[in-house]
Amino acid sequence: MRPALLVFGYALMVAWLAPPLLTRLTARGISARLGLAAWLTAMASVVACAVAALQFLVRAAITGWPSLAEAVCRSVTGTACAPTVYKSAAFEAGLGATALLATLTAAVLSWRYGRSVQRARRRTHEHAELARMTGRILPGAGPAMVLDAEQPVAYCVPGRPAAIVLSSGALAVLDPAQLTAVLAHERAHLAGRHHVLTGLTRALSACFPAVPLFARGAGEVARLAEMCADDAAARRSGRPTLIAALLAMGTGTAVPATVVPDTALTATGCAVVSRVQRLLDPPDRALLVGYGTALAALTLLLAAASVMLAGYAGPLATHALALI
């Protein structure tokens, strides 16, 4: 009983305490890739620990119902727990009902989670097929399709094969170098399998909106994935070209890379402006190393702690149960 509560308690602690810390470490998007890893590790460790704790509880309930009843009774009332209490019909019925309710809730939540991941996948596949069938192939751009539409749009659709879709409006406002930057950005999403990460985390936040780590994490994972793709595109095409492409696609007018300033803007207001700001103000070496080290350490700590707790919960718990 105790180990399961310990593991569950650890999961709750990470779920509630990690978001403020992670938010602070990843707000500026310094080493976005490590930031992404840290958020994902925190989320995975909470899921793993919660599952391990539940698993133990279910196993304990099946194999040793009387000792479980006694253990629960003890942990609630302390030493004042007498056999007349935990062997009474009322106590057992209550405990049974609680266990049943918890199992049902877990089942419903996992089913909803699976369904929402599945639904997103199906929608994506249908969209990819539609894109493949109706788009014109953009020569020399890999799996890129062009669709006739005035609005500048560029996005990627994961799938087999994946596709990058550009509207003719996008081609009209981008110069060749900027187009390369846009394609590099989208390819980075596909290569990094960002859709899997955002899909899984969004479904988590939809199923557990009350858990801060999941509620906050979905948006943060999407934001950091965007930054990773921006970094990849900037490495390929250079920051000014990528910034000009962002501004051109955002406003729907051609923006030459020569107007891009080399210092930070005094503006805020939307996601594109924040991305531009971030690209204009790259971190120096010291910041990069500092944030990188902090994020890597946190990731390792979370991973090690959860593997230990989830891995030892089972054996430890069996041991504890045998002692009772």
Binding site: R123, H127, L130, Y155, P161, V259, P261
Partner: protein
């Protein structure tokens, strides 16, 4: 699998190019001029496209005559609509280069670009 998907696309394109219903034989004759392909492959692919709802067919004598269920322009429009609706959706499954913006956001961005253009004329 990939080659098969490509064939679906090639066949849809052909069906759209014809303004009238076509038979498997007609498309096979056209395709056979350009690539080594078996009649049954074309038939199976068109059957799949029918099953997936891309092609409608009507029996005429022994053979089926196929037509597209919607024009290419209609499909393009539907795709764009889906893509744009997705841009502002929290359940979005597509990674847009630039997310959809509301009026205030586009104005803010517009102002930034205008200021940059003034500051450093070409």
């Amino acid at each position: 699998m990939r080659g098969f998907g490509d064939l679906e696309q090639v066949i849809m394109q052909r069906v759209w190019d014809h303004d009238r219903p076509v038979t498997v034989r007609e498309l096979f004759d056209e395709l056979a001029l350009e690539r080594a392909i078996a009649y049954t492959t074309v038939m199976t692919t068109m059957d799949n496209l029918h099953r997936k709802g891309w092609l409608a067919r009507e029996k005429e004598g022994k053979a089926y005559r196929y037509t597209a269920t919607a024009s290419q322009a209609e499909y393009s429009a539907r795709l764009m609509q889906e893509a744009l609706a997705d841009g502002g959706n929290t359940e979005a499954v597509l990674s847009h280069f630039v997310a959809q913006m509301d009026g205030a956001e586009s104005e803010a961005l517009r102002a930034v670009v205008d200021r940059l253009a003034e500051r450093r004329p070409r």
